[in-house]
Symmetry: none
Subunit: 410 residues, 2 copies
């Protein structure tokens, strides 16, 4: 029997206004201990009196975001946390980029991640990033394109500038489908390739390939005289994926308390209600208190652990954890019945980027049991009762702790 | 390559009368540490000098019975321990109930778990459990039914009373197959639903549905004047599953030393030889000594850890572990070459029922290695070399420790 089907069959509804579950994600929380930092991770170096208090009554472990050795982006990282196998439910880079820019996507929308680039007289790419033009230039060029190209046939074209040379194109129309091959050779010295259907027999992909070919015909002349951004590339061309709704899948009414557009977007992809307003973790926790009665499940996202990990700033990442810890008592005023605190992946300072190292996870409830750990740390979590497991199971453990599963078999 | 096929291909026969393997199951052994019990589990609170002695030379870990967060019944719990994926090999509740009553099932038998119930004048169920009639009443009613209904067409009908309102009906005949939908709306206020094939195209299920409809026609009038048990419901209607025999699968001649019928029945489902007689763990271990030369593999089942866990009686569960420990030296007089001690699932006292928490496992052999743990406990097992793994692999680890696997590849 299929495991998801079994979970679904055993799922009991929780009483309305009853059990509350909270998934608190410190983005990129996990780290590695190195000699340079006296063999401490930021989580270990940080002073965290409030996390320490709940650690004693928690079960701990470490989670593999997608697969051993795989470094996930934010998309697969969060889909895993939401209980969707990131290998089964893939989200195109165009969609992720669009979500990151705060664009509201509709069912059937196809998104492409685009770069301005420099072409020579023969149309050969000489710089894939157009010398990393300033964001203002990118915005100006996108406005030019958007003003002149509103539709290709019956397909609406939506263009939005990102940072530096990056932008996003959304194709909104009937019968479009992804994914297509890239309009990007991924290196200099080649012309812009024509996009092709990944599946020759897919009518939606064929139509989309035609639309994109026409879009290039219309758009390239508009930027032809711009320097150095006289061309552009597109990749990750795919439609908004069909993902079973969180509420249907888990019988939990979910809310998203995130600050950055990307995470709101990812939460929306699975049908979470996006709560707008809060701009800091303090405000997010305060809003949680206000929304407590309105939802069963809260996804609360904290960005700064990842940001400073990416910067390689150990001190700042440690401080970000301490800031989080200082705000935590607000959440605990109405302690969720089931509380999980973890990351979507590791972002080791020593690596200045995401990594594959399993992220530590803390799970506490009336029936989580205690692993007798005094703190929540990578090294402690290694000895926890949850072991090392795939992130997609976290939500199932949360459901179990919420007593949402009937017994399997007699 | 399929993993079971690989195991099978690599399996070496063990020398006759050579290596002995013992799987000792303390039912519901696993527990959770809570503040109320000073953060000790029963296994941690118990004084266990004999377990301690073997702990030092053991590998330890924790096992997931079926899947993360899933709480198994005894059926899936034991099938997993016997090395059969509980999601692949499912045993209907009717079969489990029949085994629990000590009924001997034949190949092709279909079993239904039945309840006496109260119906109103229009046939609407007003009490699904007929006021939990005394066991004696149930026995009387079952005897009435059994006396009057011996066959439906060519299908033999076997009825056996259980406790209070519960009984089992076995349908024994040619060409019958399950599973069917329940003759039980699972709540009051409805009539008894007609059973239907789960698969419309399955001839065996269709035949069985007809037999059960006729059985209802014959049986309901017999109890119509009984109060409050003037009707009955049936669910979990399925045939004895086809499970590859233990001896064929593992090349080990297995014996079952259990006291309770349910566990004998589960062992019989996979073809273990049921050894009758012993009524206590002391007697079970003594019988093991006598049967030592006759089998390769011994499944020894101890019930009381689960029983007191279900009662929420921490002291009694702790004492049950101590009683087990006191008897252990009998087993160790002829120490099995490979000895695994574990549970089929956790039954935390704080939860008064089965749970999903991984059960601790201890594995000792000449080549198990030592995890340098002084005791066998949940918290220690968290740090063991076996990690957290699916229970279905335990038997493979036991086979490996018995040196029963050839090398895979060169």
């Amino acid at each position: 029997m299929n495991l998801d089907a079994l979970y679904s069959e055993l799922t009991l509804k929780i009483p309305q206004g009853g059990t509350k579950l909270a998934l608190v994600v410190l983005d990129g929380l996990g780290d590695i201990a190195t000699k340079e930092q006296n063999y401490l991770t930021p989580l270990e170096a940080a002073t965290t009196p409030n996390l320490d208090k709940i650690a004693r009554d928690s079960a701990q472990g470490r989670m593999i975001a997608a697969a051993p050795g795989i470094t996930p982006g934010s998309g697969p990282g969060h889909l895993g946390l939401f209980g969707y196998d990131p290998l089964e439910f893939q989200v195109g880079r165009g969609v992720i980029e669009a979500l990151g820019l705060g664009m509201e996507l509709k069912h059937g929308d196809v998104c492409a991640r685009a770069n301005f680039a420099t072409l020579d007289a023969k149309g050969i790419i000489t710089d894939r990033r157009a010398g990393r033009i300033p964001t203002e230039t990118c915005e100006k060029l996108c406005a030019m394109l958007a003003a002149k190209i509103k539709k290709i046939g019956d397909t609406e074209i939506i263009i939005k500038a990102g940072k530096e040379h990056r932008f996003v194109v959304v194709f909104r129309g009937k019968g479009l489908e992804g994914p297509l091959t890239d309009a990007d050779p991924n290196r200099e010295g080649f012309a812009i390739p024509t996009v092709k259907p990944r599946d020759e027999n897919n009518a939606g992909q064929k139509k989309l390939a035609g639309v994109i070919a026409d879009f290039y015909k219309a758009a390239l002349p508009i930027v032809a005289k711009e320097k150095p951004a006289n061309g552009f590339l597109m990749r990750g061309i795919a439609h908004k994926p069909h993902i079973p709704l969180f509420e249907d899948r888990y019988k939990l009414k979910p809310a998203c308390l995130a600050v950055y557009p990307m995470y709101k977007g990812l939460a929306q992809l699975v049908g979470m209600k996006k709560i707008e307003g809060p701009a800091t973790i303090t405000e997010q926790f305060e809003r949680y208190l206000k929304e407590y009665d309105n939802f069963d499940f809260f996804f609360i996202h904290y960005k700064y652990t990842d940001k400073y990990g990416e910067d390689g700033n150990f001190t700042a990442k440690t401080k970000a954890i301490e800031d989080f810890d200082a705000a935590l008592p607000i959440l605990l005023r109405k302690k969720p019945d089931v509380l999980a605190i973890t990351g979507d992946h590791s972002t080791p300072c020593a690596m200045k980027g995401h990594s594959w190292h399993p992220q530590p996870v803390l799970l506490t409830s009336a029936v989580s049991g205690s692993d007798k750990l005094e703190r929540f740390t990578e090294t402690g979590a290694n000895t926890g009762s949850l072991g090392v497991f795939k992130a997609k199971y976290l939500i199932r453990l949360m459901q179990a702790n919420a007593r949402m599963f009937d017994k399997f078999g007699a």
